[in-house]
């Protein structure tokens, strides 16, 4: 069953993507742990941490592409789901610190001691257990997305209006999480993590495992998304994207399909956030900034909307460029990012991957129709 799926539904770029990821998943930890730092093949801790971060961004981008590229829902609020997953993981990590905090309180995290709180708020209940935290990582973003989507899709809020209220959603959460009395660390967020599942979070092997887990999560996320878009439901999603009213007139319950894919996408974003937090060591309200969510959109647009692999690729390209730019010309990054937004929308409407596949197909065989329908989303 699964092998049939693999061989029938994964296209060429998907295979290349999966193989590359599988190699990275094994090779990078080995090059980090087993190869001595003097060797040219050694991968430094910093580099592995950075790449691990990119992997979680790529998963977030795949999640956004799933709703935007295949269902036409331009979400300006996926950063919110990412951050909520991150907070769920961050709360687990906070509870693992135990009495090793500055105030040495075995139960309360430092910021609560600082605020003179006497007991854990009910929202923190159960977060000392990893399975519960992992459940929350999926449940909280999923539930929020479900409720939000339930209201939004049922009343047929579409297009620009939907984008703007998703932005309002993440903005409202930003304001809420900045408040100290929310019990999530306020402005400073959650940080100073020590252990994860009993292992020292700073230790090299732990970091290597986290890296591999991120890669695996990305692969699984891609496979899940691919399974959805190549299924029968996926065809309907594409139909909704291209002509929502006609799909509705054909008798499909458009809002159910939208709600399903929207919720799945939010859960994927939440998982990405949960893997992001232990690798960067902090989660704070700035993750809710609308600008972050919009930046995620540009990853997808750069890589190629409606291609999944392209979205992941775009996340890699843009973030690599960001790391390089902020090192080389700190002043120049916003110019470059802004320019990228303008350039991609004007000159590369199909993104890097979409443009490349089109060019490749055209070169290979003139008579064959160019690319599949999935790579050419219409408004």
């Amino acid at each position: 069953m699964f092998s049939r799926f693999l061989f029938e539904k994964i296209d060429r770029s998907g295979w290349i993507f999966l193989v590359l990821l599988a190699v990275t998943c094994v090779l990078v930890p080995i090059l980090n742990l087993a190869v001595p730092p003097t060797s040219v093949f050694h991968v430094s801790n910093t580099a592995m941490g950075l790449w691990g971060k990119y992997m979680t961004y790529a998963l977030l981008a795949v999640a956004v592409d799933l709703v935007w590229g295949y269902c036409g829902i331009l979400s300006l609020g996926h950063g919110a789901f990412f951050a909520l997953g991150g907070y769920a993981m961050g709360m687990y990590l906070m509870r693992q610190i135990g009495p090793r905090g500055v105030y040495a309180n075995p139960i309360l995290p430092d910021f609560m001691v600082f605020l003179n709180w006497k007991e854990l708020p009910f929202t923190w209940w159960g977060f000392s257990s990893l399975p519960y935290a992992l459940l929350m990582v999926c449940l909280v973003p999923g539930l929020l997305a479900f409720v939000f989507g339930w209201f939004a899709f049922r009343s047929r809020v579409t297009g620009v209006y939907l984008s703007i209220i998703t932005q309002a959603l993440t903005y409202a959460l930003l304001l809420a999480f900045f408040r100290n009395d929310m019990g999530f660390g306020g402005n400073n967020g959650l940080t100073d993590f020590k252990d994860i599942a009993g292992f020292n979070i700073q230790a090299q092997p732990t970091r290597a495992v986290l890296f591999s887990l991120s890669v695996i999560a990305l692969m699984l996320g891609y496979l899940a998304a691919r399974a959805i878009v190549t299924s029968k439901a996926g065809k309907i999603l594409i139909a909704i994207r291209d002509a929502e009213a006609r799909t509705r007139f054909l008798g499909y319950r458009v809002e159910h399909f939208k709600l399903f894919v929207w919720t799945v996408s939010a859960v994927m974003a939440g998982i990405a956030g949960a893997l992001y937090v232990p690798q960067v060591g902090i989660i704070n309200p700035s993750e809710f900034q609308p600008a972050n969510s919009i930046e995620t959109i540009i990853w997808v647009a750069v890589g190629g909307r409606g291609t999944l692999v392209g979205a992941a690729l775009g996340a890699g390209i843009v973030n690599f460029a960001k790391s390089w730019f902020t090192g080389a010309f700190p002043q120049g990054w916003l110019f470059a990012l802004g320019g990228l937004f303008v350039f991609v929308t004007l000159f590369l409407p199909k993104g890097v991957l979409g443009t490349f596949t089109e060019w490749w197909n055209a070169r290979r065989s003139a008579p064959k129709p160019p690319a599949s329908a999935a790579t050419q989303p219409a408004e």
């Binding site: 331009l74 009343s155 620009v160 209006y161 984008s163 919009i294 916003l334 004007l346 408004e379």
Partner: protein, 536 residues
């Protein structure tokens, strides 16, 4: 002669209350020479009595003498009992007249003890009740009102009849009433009358005042106070609501200014201009530059700097808008989500450009003198700059309505909006109409920037703070409808200010966002939705 005896009576009373009965019999006439001479002594009680007498004499020398005494600059010559003030610069003046005097020989300082210091403090309070500056008199009366210091009663009794300024007089009467209400030994009739005065004041302080009657108050007075509390409470609710409406209008007009340009580009043209906030920022920075130039080259013009900045901000922001439209947006018509991405890119570039040019920190934009200050209507405090912004927002709105409804350009804009191809076929140059409409929206954002520079920090992030609010206003009001934007902005502004006291500023805002999200579910196209075929 009658006047003299009146003065003497008051003086005796004042001295009696301020310094206690022991000193009462040493009261002198209001002759400043005699008053000043009383300081030429080693007797502390005599000095304290002199202070009180001087303070209530109404002499113009009272303040300088008492200040000099407080600062240890008052000296006397025992030989002839003449008193001098040593000025800060070391020269001397005759205390009685204030005229300059040659440096005297063999003087001693007039000494202080705690008793004298207390007398000085009381005297300074009484003196400020007679200060030539009305603002100082009001402040003094307010201080008495808050402290309910019974010793000030005498000073008030002197100050009140001579007071010409109605506002100051009112404050003094309230201060007097406050003392009476708190004084359980005063006759009931007087206290009830005083309660009436406090009730007319009708603010939070009055409420606190009436709520803290001494325990041995008669039931009659207490009853009157309770009635007054209810009445004040009622009027407070009304005034509070009025104040909230005013703040809400003020916030709403700011929202209107920020959003109205967006209502044109987003509502009329269907373009999501994420760089709209940066147009506002450009307007604010234009104001800054104009003021810089005026400060260095023509400081006299500072008060009209905003009037110079307004047309310039309109032109600069509008010009940038036309440029953006010609270079980028015209390639993206009919693809609203793509204009969102491209203009977001433009906004990042503009922010960074301003940051590189002017630095990342806040820039100081001055307020012209005619825009600073405030006045009161009843219990309503109204600041002039907020009032100016409300009026300005109204003017901009009216002007825009006029342009769109009454000019050929407005007609063409509406034609292109409704049916681009038909408009083109009728000979309208749709390209130019697009460019100028976008320019108009951006220019108005620039005007908003001039106004916002008066109430907000001018920094590269200025625009970011308004972009989400602006979109909320436009979406809430209904796209493509200027009246909707007006109603949307005012509703959200006022709703925000009414939520704030209960939920706090941040939570209020969150509630409002949630409300808008829910509202959009009910009316996906806003309050005043366009109907008909043009909608889709």
């Amino acid at each position: 002669m009658r006047r003299l005896s009146f003065f003497a009576t008051i003086l005796a009373l004042a001295a009696l209350i301020i310094t206690g009965p022991a000193l009462a019999q040493t009261g002198h006439g209001p002759d400043s020479q005699a008053l000043a001479q009383r300081f030429a002594t080693e007797n502390f009680n005599e000095i304290a009595g002199a202070v009180a007498a001087l303070a209530s004499s109404g002499s113009s020398q009272a303040a300088p003498i008492i200040e000099a005494l407080r600062d240890g600059r008052l000296v006397y010559r025992p030989a002839d009992r003449s008193v001098f003030i040593r000025q800060a610069d070391g020269s001397f003046a005759l205390a009685a007249t204030g005229t300059a005097a040659p440096a005297p020989e063999g003087t001693r300082p007039v000494r202080l003890n705690n008793n004298v210091r207390r007398a000085i403090d009381a005297a300074m309070g009484a003196l400020s009740l007679m200060h030539p500056d009305p603002a100082r008199r009001v402040a003094a009366a307010e201080a008495v009102f808050k402290s309910r210091d019974a010793t000030a009663l005498a000073a008030l009794a002197i100050a009140l009849p001579g007071e010409r300024d109605a506002r100051v007089k009112k404050r003094m009467e309230e201060a007097r009433a406050a003392i009476l209400v708190a004084d359980s030994k005063a006759p009931d009739a007087e206290r009830i009358e005083a309660i009436g005065v406090i009730q007319r004041r009708g603010d939070q302080d009055a409420l606190a005042m009436l709520g803290s009657l001494p325990s041995d108050t008669s039931p009659l007075v207490r009853q009157a106070a309770d009635n007054a509390i209810t009445a004040v409470g009622r009027s407070l609710v009304v005034w509070e609501a009025a104040q909230n409406v005013w703040y809400g209008l003020s916030l709403g007009s700011v929202l209107l200014l920020a959003a109205i340009g967006l209502a044109i580009t987003f509502g009329v043209m269907g373009i999501i201009n994420m760089a709209h906030g940066e147009m506002v920022m450009i307007g604010a920075y234009t104001t800054f530059v104009v003021q810089q130039v005026i400060r260095t080259s023509a400081p006299a013009l500072f008060d009209v700097s905003l009037f110079i900045a307004l047309p310039l901000a309109f032109l600069v922001a509008g010009g940038v808008g036309v440029l953006i439209e010609r270079l980028i947006i015209r390639h993206l018509y009919g693809r609203p989500l793509e204009t969102l991405l491209a203009t977001w890119g433009v906004s990042l570039i503009l922010q960074q450009a301003v940051r590189s040019w002017f630095g990342p920190t806040n820039r100081e934009v001055g307020t012209p003198s005619w825009m600073s200050g405030s006045f009161e209507i009843g219990n309503l405090a109204i600041t002039t700059n907020r009032l100016a912004i409300i009026i300005f927002a109204g003017l901009v709105f009216a002007a825009l309505l006029l342009v769109l409804k009454r000019t050929p350009f407005g007609l063409q804009t509406r034609a292109v909006t409704q049916n681009r191809r038909m408009a083109g076929a009728m000979g309208i140059r749709t390209n130019w109409v697009d460019a100028f409409t976008f320019g108009l929206g951006s220019g108005i954002a620039g005007l908003a920037g001039v106004a916002l520079s008066q109430i907000d920090n001018v920094s590269p992030n200025l625009g970011q703070g308004y972009i989400i609010d602006s979109f909320m206003v436009v979406v809430f009001g209904g796209v493509g409808n200027l009246w909707g934007t007006l109603v949307g902005a005012l509703t959200l502004g006022i709703a925000n200010k009414f939520l704030e006291p209960y939920a706090g500023a941040v939570l209020g805002k969150i509630l409002l966002l949630v409300f808008i999200i829910l509202f959009i579910q009910k009316r996906p196209r806003g309050l005043f939705a366009l109907k008909g075929r043009a909608v889709e």
